[in-house]
Amino acid sequence: MDYQNEPHGLFFMIDNKSFYASVESAARGLNPLRSVIVVMSEADNTGSGLVLAASPMAKKLFGISNVSRQYEVPDDPRILVVPPRMNLYIQENLKINKIFREYVADSDLFPYSIDESILDMTKSWRLFGSTPEQVARRIQLRIRREMGLYTTVGIGENPVQAKLALDLQAKHDHELIGRLTYESFPRAIWPITNLESVWSIGHRTAAHLQRLGIHSMRDLAMVNPYELRAEMGLIGAQLFALAWGIDRSQLHQLRLAKEKSWSNSQVLPRDYQIQQEIELVIREIGQQTTSRMRHHHQQAGCVSLGIGLARTGEADDGRSGFHHSCRIEPTDNVQAIAAALLRLFRQHWEGQAIRNISVGLSRLNTSRGLQLDIFQEPHRQIKNERFDRVIDELRDKFGKTAVIPASSLMPGGTMLRRAALVGGHNGGNSFD
């Protein structure tokens, strides 16, 4: 393979080792690598409790993994269980990224998730050391010293190499640093036979590859890319590039989604079977989504509703739910959108128990004031419009629960309890 025309940069992919658990350890004066801490969410819809993060020691000693259930965690006095504080983790992530900005220009830093960031060090690494490893070490020590957290660094000549170096090497390395180059890539990556351990290859893709007789990264690299593409589509071409450590993405030219849309979804705390209760939650989610959209001064021309059935209520034909959408007159009015959602729901629901609801708003355009509908009383329409604005302003000023529909107090409403959550989990104490 001729790599001459491929981009040759220097990328760091840095992640925080067991981020939530480490933050909680540091806050308690414990060493994140030695403490046995489990961050457990006990939000309404996580059943008995869900492990969001386990410290390295908890993983090692008790085999606890993330997304374990509460009953899978042994009842051992050596284990310390703590509730999540999502707001704290967000703050800590911001602090870490602030440190990264001292090593790269703002435009070369790409936060990837709450505990991972990509740093394009191509232009700046020589300012901080004589080898990339030395620079990585320096950043690690800095974060350890200032925040008490351990970081893992993957180094590569492009982002995908950095990501694989992080996942496949750094995490098992004593110094928590891994490095891949075009040159070392075949030696390090091709022997891998557990394809699912490689970033971007999921369970189903791995199975598909197995069916094609591809059982290792070497097999994948040796396959005819045109045949692979014909078999798997664009993904086939991407996988082939992955096997050779090739990544031509230009992080600076972020591609915008063709069409943006707004959506919210939630897993219900229990099976919902009563129509009134289900419709209440649909309204609540509809309202939440609409309000997000309105903050961006947009109107939706299409609403969609997704319903996930409870395991017990799965339809006889084996469907696990349904998803439907319909066009509407472009609007940002909560009532109109809720009405459309309920129409969809009533058309397609056949009385099954449900566990999952999602609402989407698409075909967006900028709201340019109110378009009066000639079939409705104009004063009423203007009043509705003003009403929505006032509600928005009240919520902006005094919080999401400043004004709520009385219906949210009825059985089944989830809005009040969810308002305090961040990403579906406990945000932490409010006046900290």
């Binding site: 540091a26 004066g29 042994p74 006095p77 310390l80 703590v82 504080r85 104490n429």
Partner: protein, 107 residues
């Protein structure tokens, strides 16, 4: 944040007490303890309620964070808190230092 934040010790102690009272259910074979951590990284004092039922997993519930490194302020908050509860206090990462006012060892 930023600027000088005035800390009212009584108010802080009340908040901590209100939060710990929710968790203190006084069960048999259960140890309750308040952990006070000197967090050098965050430059704060962190309060946690530690609940350890015999032969079961321990739990640690965040109660509050004092955004200061001033031991004198902490001493006042602790004194106000001790007027409301007799739960034992466990000081973490303070090293061997004395309280500024009472001059007793912190332990």
């Amino acid at each position: 944040m930023g600027g000088i934040v005035l800390i009212e010790p009584k108010q802080e102690a009340d908040l901590i007490y209100a939060r710990l009272a929710e968790w203190f259910t006084a069960q048999w074979h259960c140890q309750y303890r308040i952990d006070v951590v000197n967090d050098q990284y965050g430059q704060t004092f962190n309060f946690f309620m530690n609940i350890q039922r015999q032969h079961h997993r321990a739990r640690s519930i965040p109660l509050h964070t004092l955004r200061t490194t001033d031991l004198a302020v902490l001493e006042q908050v602790i004194r106000a808190l001790q007027q409301q509860t007799q739960l034992s206090l466990n000081f973490v990462n303070f090293g061997r230092v004395r309280w500024p006012v009472s001059q007793r060892w912190i332990h």
